[in-house]
Amino acid sequence: MNMETTLILLRLAGLMCLGLIVANFVAAPRLGYARNLAGSGNLVRQIFYVHCGYIVLLITALAVLCLGWPQLLLAEGMGQVVSGFFTVFWGSRVVVQLTYYDKTERRKERFWDLFFLLVFFTLAAIFATATSSTP
């Protein structure tokens, strides 16, 4: 795949990451984070929200990188290592969704289950393409 196309795909990945950030904020009330965590201890609740925050931070940084400086992800050495990391990151997210998440819960929200599987798979494929692209 030529460099121009890969850069366009990386910008598309950036937009998808922005969508995932929004989805994280929508998920909190929809999945009842506060209600579900109400009975747990303070530390459990705090760790959950902190981990959510760190994931949002990581995806935000990735979105900024993809939209602003996608060529850095194609640079030899560090660029390809970062792209490789995000290939594994999103690829493993597909595996987690298919093998770890409760099938009954997934069936209840089949549309969103398939939608997010497609998003994670596409992101993994884009970063795999970036990893294998050499300038």
Binding site: N42, V44, V50, I55, L57, L72, M78, V81, Y101
Partner: protein, 142 residues
Amino acid sequence: MKELLNYGLLFAGFGLTALVIASLWIPKVLGWKEKLKDLSPLIKELWWTYSFYVWASNCFFAVLALGFREWFLGGSSSAAAMAGFICFWWSVRVYLQFFGFDFDEVEDTGGNRIAKLLLTLLFLYLMIFFAIILWWNLGGAR
């Protein structure tokens, strides 16, 4: 100075490696399994998924600190951006350590006190050291 920073990166890498290995015991030490048993299956799955990805990010930072020292000290704007991001990551963690987390639930044993002290020192080191790497790449190198 560059040689000193090189050793500093090595130390950061080993510190992060120790952290990711030690993190494998945190669920047991803090009794997560017991504490999470009342959560709904979905929230429990999200809990473990998010924890895993934060842990994986720390693994990645360890790999970068150990394997890309020359790149981190090369004076490039991308190295500055990466160092800035890692510095911010650990600054948030330092803030949470002092003002965010409620550690009252953690058993007050000698081992836990030492572990907390070592973790706090490591987080402070990572925050300060990557701030120095940021400064180095923004012009401190010249």
